[in-house]
């Protein structure tokens, strides 16, 4: 085994990888030094800047020096970055990476659906996402190895699930990871479909009421605090108290608003109430540039892009049919795929500062989608800015993240090629000064991902996070079989049409809803022991689903 010796030069990328794998996985010992010197790199310290054959010195979790002729401290672990490209690790603007669902009891029936307990109604702004953050969640590693060093994570749930935190994508505990807790009050226009507020219009009505109540209760609490004598004691109310900073414009509201109409709903709510607004997960914003500009809202554009249906052969895709109507329909669909793909470029040329969010995006698609956006006209420097300094700026951490410069937190991604090259890969990444490796080409080569085993999946429906357990087997004749169970269907249902090609696992089952059979289709990608994809429930629509596989015995 290799040993760490101060000042010892370990050359070549492969060695660099072995080094970390050995350190992190086998011995679980901290590196002998917290000082690193990565030399002979192509460094892109900020969009539009470039240092050839440069060196980065990392010390105590911070960037200590960047440049061409940097003297290497004697205790540094030296890594040769020949042919590698260093970027400031990316910053993601809205996701639920590593965030568990709160253990709310969803099964229990509410006595009066018109007047439910606040927590059931989704009114939990006092919740802190750190309480639900699992540092060992495999999705953290996956996002990290897409080049991201920080993310704004939001709690799971509906309506007002709690406050977000800007976290570093590495660390042992939620508090260690948190860079900026309570960064924003998070809200979605989602609801528990059976209790108040159950519709988008009731969610908005309740938003207004809570806001006005918070203003009144805030003012009265202040009056009471100055001189309580003779005044009725104000009741404490955790939900309203959590909204005080919002009413004072000290904390922004981060809304998940993918669709054009939802964005407008939130913009008019903001116009009426006056809070500081951040729009997250925007995927249909191209027609709203002026409105967004007027509102002063910050924007995180969705990194999700529709799958190009032309890449998939459809049964009706037979040109000999010559169906003019179908051709026209497909042309309109292409028009909207194009609008989504060029959205970032549209925002950029309109001069709106934006970052990106990965909430609805398969992490394995992140780079492909970015490349598509750049090919569709997004200036690569603007794309990099959105991933780094602009996101840092919107999140209020630009003094610590977003560029490779002295004094900043050591979040540095090392790419095999320039990041927008088709086969560029993240080889390794420093987060908070700690080195993580991202390739599997070493002595500890992972087994090929396999769908066999017991999967614990969580479907993120607007009402609740539904937990599903899927057991998949493979017969001797290489056919898959499986069964799905959940608390609502403990007896389980057999799966049909199970396919596994490349990384894509797909299976179906059918359920009965309101007396009508509905096909449920689960489709997604397996990376090691993680699964991420979507679940489509008949005509009810589709929801994100992700999860992990039990370790094999």
């Amino acid at each position: 085994m290799l040993r760490f010796v101060a000042s010892r030069i370990i050359s070549a990328v492969g060695a660099l990888l072995v080094l970390t794998t050995t350190a992190a996985q086998e011995r679980e010992l901290a590196p002998v030094s917290d000082t690193y010197a990565i030399r002979n790199l192509t460094i892109i310290p900020a969009p539009g800047r470039r240092i050839e054959h440069g060196t980065i010195i990392i010390r105590n979790g911070l960037i200590d020096a960047v440049g061409e002729n940097i003297s290497i401290p004697p205790n540094a672990i030296i890594l040769d970055g020949d042919s590698l490209y260093a970027y400031a690790a990316f910053i993601e603007g809205l996701s639920k990476t590593g965030v568990k669902s709160p253990d709310d009891d969803h099964g229990e029936r509410v006595e009066d659906p018109g007047d439910p307990p606040l927590s059931k109604a989704g009114i939990n702004p006092q919740r802190d996402v750190r309480d639900y953050l699992d540092p060992n969640d495999p999705m953290i590693k996956e996002l990290r190895c897409a080049g991201f060093g920080a993310s704004q994570v939001a709690p799971r749930g509906i309506f007002l699930p709690g406050s977000t935190a800007v976290i570093l994508l590495g660390g042992e505990t939620p508090d260690q990871m948190a860079l900026r807790p309570h960064n924003a009050c998070y809200s979605e226009l989602t609801s528990n479909k059976t209790i108040y507020p159950s519709t988008v219009m009731a969610v908005l009505a309740k938003w207004r009421e809570l806001y006005h109540q918070a203003e009144l209760s805030r003012d009265y609490a202040a009056l009471y605090a100055t001189n309580a004598s003779g005044l009725p004691r104000p009741e404490t109310n955790r939900a309203l108290e959590a909204l005080y900073p919002v009413t004072l414009r000290q904390q922004p509201v981060l809304f998940r608003t993918a669709k054009m109409l939802d964005i407008q709903r939130v913009l008019s709510l903001q116009k009426e109430l006056g809070f500081v607004l951040v729009l997250g997960d925007v995927s249909e914003g191209w027609d709203l540039i002026d409105k967004i500009k007027t509102s002063g809202a910050s924007v995180f554009l969705s990194l999700n892009l529709p799958e190009n249906p032309d890449e998939k052969k459809e049964p009706d895709d037979d040109d000999s049919l010559g169906n003019a109507e179908l051709t026209a329909l497909k042309a309109r669909r292409s028009e909207f795929i194009q609008k989504m793909t060029t959205q970032a470029a549209t925002f950029d040329s309109a001069g709106i500062k934006f970052g990106f969010s990965a909430l609805d995006t398969k992490y394995s698609d992140l780079h492909k989608n970015l490349r598509n956006m750049v090919e569709a006209g997004l200036n690569p420097e603007s794309a990099l800015a959105a991933l780094t300094i602009n996101a840092a700026d919107i999140l209020g951490v630009a003094d610590r993240l977003g560029t490779i410069e002295k004094g900043k937190i050591a979040n540095v991604a090392l790419f095999s090629k320039p990041m927008f090259d088709k086969d560029a890969k993240v080889m390794s990444i420093f987060v908070d000064g700690k080195l993580y490796t991202c390739t599997e080409k070493d002595g500890h080569k992972k087994k090929v991902s396999s769908p066999e085993g017991t999967w614990h999946l969580t479907a993120d429906t607007p009402k609740e996070a539904v937990k599903l357990e899927v057991v998949l087997r493979r017969d001797p004749d290489k056919q898959y079989s499986g069964r799905i169970t959940s608390t609502r269907m403990p007896e389980g249902i057999d799966l049909t049409n199970i396919t596994f090609q490349g990384k894509t696992l797909k299976f179906m089952y059918d359920i009965l809803l309101e007396g009508r059979p509905q096909d449920v289709i689960v489709e997604g990608e397996i990376e090691g022991k993680t699964f991420k994809g979507k679940i489509t429930v008949g005509e009810y629509g589709n929801y994100p689903v992700e999860g992990i596989k039990d370790p094999e015995r």
């Binding site: 659906p113 018109g114 528990n192 479909k193 059976t194 108040y196 159950s198 519709t199 988008v200 219009m201 009731a202 908005l204 009505a205 009421e209 006005h212 009056l223 003779g230 005044l231 009725p232 104000p234 054009m260 109409l261 407008q264 709903r265 008019s268 027609d287 409105k291 799958e307 249906p309 459809e314 049964p315 010559g322 109507e325 051709t327 026209a328 042309a331 309109r332 669909r333 292409s334 028009e335 909207f336 795929i337 609008k339 989504m340 479907a459 429906t461 607007p462 009402k463 539904v466 599903l468 959940s486 609502r488 269907m489 249902i493 359920i511 809803l513 309101e514 429930v537 005509e539 009810y540």
Partner: protein, 459 residues
């Protein structure tokens, strides 16, 4: 072959009207030589109508078109005021907040969907203004949207009828008792319960208003220290109903419940009441006239549930003859396209005059919505909302040919592309045959009650 098809696709993209881009809100048009059915000022043959800046500025023979003004030849055609539907549920992403029997804080404007293709289809039936309401699940539902059918605008706010009075939905009878009593095991389970729920809510609102009035009064005194009452959006809205600032549109069928809601309104000093449906309105027409309520009915829809068996196609005529301002509504995205047929039925059932029949879908609903100073008839000074028909609109042979809103042509039968959707789903698939109606089309009661809790249940 493939290349050829692609070319067609490109051409089609170009041909699709660029309606989503910023458009002027008002337009100019000269409609020439038509038969004008003014509704309030009789029928004028071979007459021109000039719209400038979205308003009717002149009606008469041989008007001259100003420079650049669009000229529409209506020779041999019939020109009437844009049709008004006082009861619709189109252009909404959700209709009922059925978790609570009292939800006046709900604003339908929050659910408004300007992309709904039903707006364009309604325009194709000559409709220019509608009230789109909360459903009838709740004894007291949400606040309506009164909107112009400015299809093409993506901004929900641009569809709102500027300055229209506020309106709120109430509902009596089987719907609220089924949803809340039978469905959730809470009050109201009976018609008595519905009355109780409404009276309780209004009483609470009266007390709420008094509390705030007192607090606001005290606050004016120097050195006042005290706690404000708890803010309640629901009671805020009901307090406005009590102040007479919001019109009640009450879903009702039976004569007894119609008398009941009028009694409740009298007790609380509420004067602005429009009865919706009122299938038994004909039985209590003099009482309705005496109260001063207005009524919006179906032409001839009944027997779809127990409380609507005692009905007649003479309802609109009997109410009209008793001096009640009456309208005919659609309550449906299909019927909304043929309101002119619905109105024509009153010529046979009750012998209304043509102007009286047309009033049922123009000036009368305008009065019920409080917008008759702006729309509902062809008069100088009113909005340029016009529907042009091939034959008299009450003829069974008539075909709508053009619809203008604020002087802008929003429907033209001659230029009516197949695909008028404003937004399309980029992941839409075409290999699944069949038509899927959006949830909002099922009916005004919706169907979404238990959908989500059942999503992951086994059979």
């Amino acid at each position: 072959m493939r290349i050829c098809l692609r070319h067609i696709a490109l051409v089609l993209i170009v041909l699709i009207p660029v309606i989503a881009s910023a458009q002027p809100r008002v337009g100019d048009a000269l409609i020439r030589n038509g038969t004008l059915l003014t509704v309030t000022k009789g029928t004028l043959e071979n007459t021109d109508l000039l719209i400038r800046g979205g308003k009717i500025v002149a009606i008469g023979p041989n008007l001259t078109a100003p420079e650049g003004c669009r000229v529409i030849d209506a020779t041999g055609k019939y020109v009437m005021p844009g049709i008004i539907d006082a009861h619709s549920h189109i252009a909404l992403e959700s209709i009922n907040e059925m978790s609570n029997p009292v939800t006046p804080e709900i604003r339908m404007s929050d659910a408004l969907n300007p992309l709904d293709i039903a707006i364009y289809r309604a325009l194709a039936g000559g409709v220019t203004t509608i009230q789109t309401l909360h459903g009838s699940a709740n004894a007291i539902g949400g606040q309506s949207v009164i909107m112009k059918l400015r299809y093409g605008s993506l901004d929900p706010a641009e569809l709102l009828f500027e300055g229209a009075p506020r309106a709120v939905k109430f509902a009596l009878g089987e719907n609220p008792t089924r949803i809340h009593g039978t469905g959730h095991n809470i009050v109201p389970r009976t018609r008595m319960g519905v009355e109780f729920v409404i009276r309780s809510a209004l009483t609470e609102a009266r007390e709420y208003r008094e509390k705030w009035d007192t607090y606001n009064e005290q606050k004016k005194q120097r050195g006042f220290r005290g706690a404000p009452p708890v803010y309640d959006d629901r009671l805020e809205v009901l307090a406005e109903v009590l102040r007479g600032n919001i019109t009640i549109h009450c879903h009702s069928y039976r004569a007894d419940e119609i008398l009941m809601i009028m009694d409740v309104c009298r007790d609380f000093g509420i004067k602005k009441l429009v009865l919706q449906h009122a299938n038994e309105g004909f039985k209590v027409a003099p009482e309705i006239a005496d109260f001063g309520a207005m009524v919006s009915v179906f032409s001839d829809a009944w027997a779809y549930k127990f409380e609507v068996y005692y009905s007649t196609a003479y309802n609109a005529a009997i109410l009209t003859r008793n001096g009640v301002v009456t309208s005919i509504n659609s309550d449906d995205p299909g019927v909304i396209r043929q309101l002119y047929h619905e109105a024509s039925k009153t010529l046979k059932y009750g012998g209304l005059s043509r102007d009286e029949a047309l009033a049922l879908i123009t000036i009368n609903p305008a009065k019920q919505l409080g917008i008759d100073n702006r729309v509902g008839s062809l008069e100088v000074g009113k909005d340029g909302d016009v529907a042009i028909f091939s034959e008299h609109p009450l003829s069974i042979y008539t075909v709508p040919s053009m619809t203008l809103v604020d002087g802008i042509v929003r429907f033209d039968r001659e230029k009516d592309p197949d695909d008028m959707r404003l937004y399309v789903d980029p992941e839409e698939r075409f290999d699944e045959a069949g038509f899927k109606a959006p949830d909002s089309y099922h009916d005004c009661l919706g169907t979404a009650t238990e959908t989500f809790s059942q999503l992951f249940e086994s059979r």
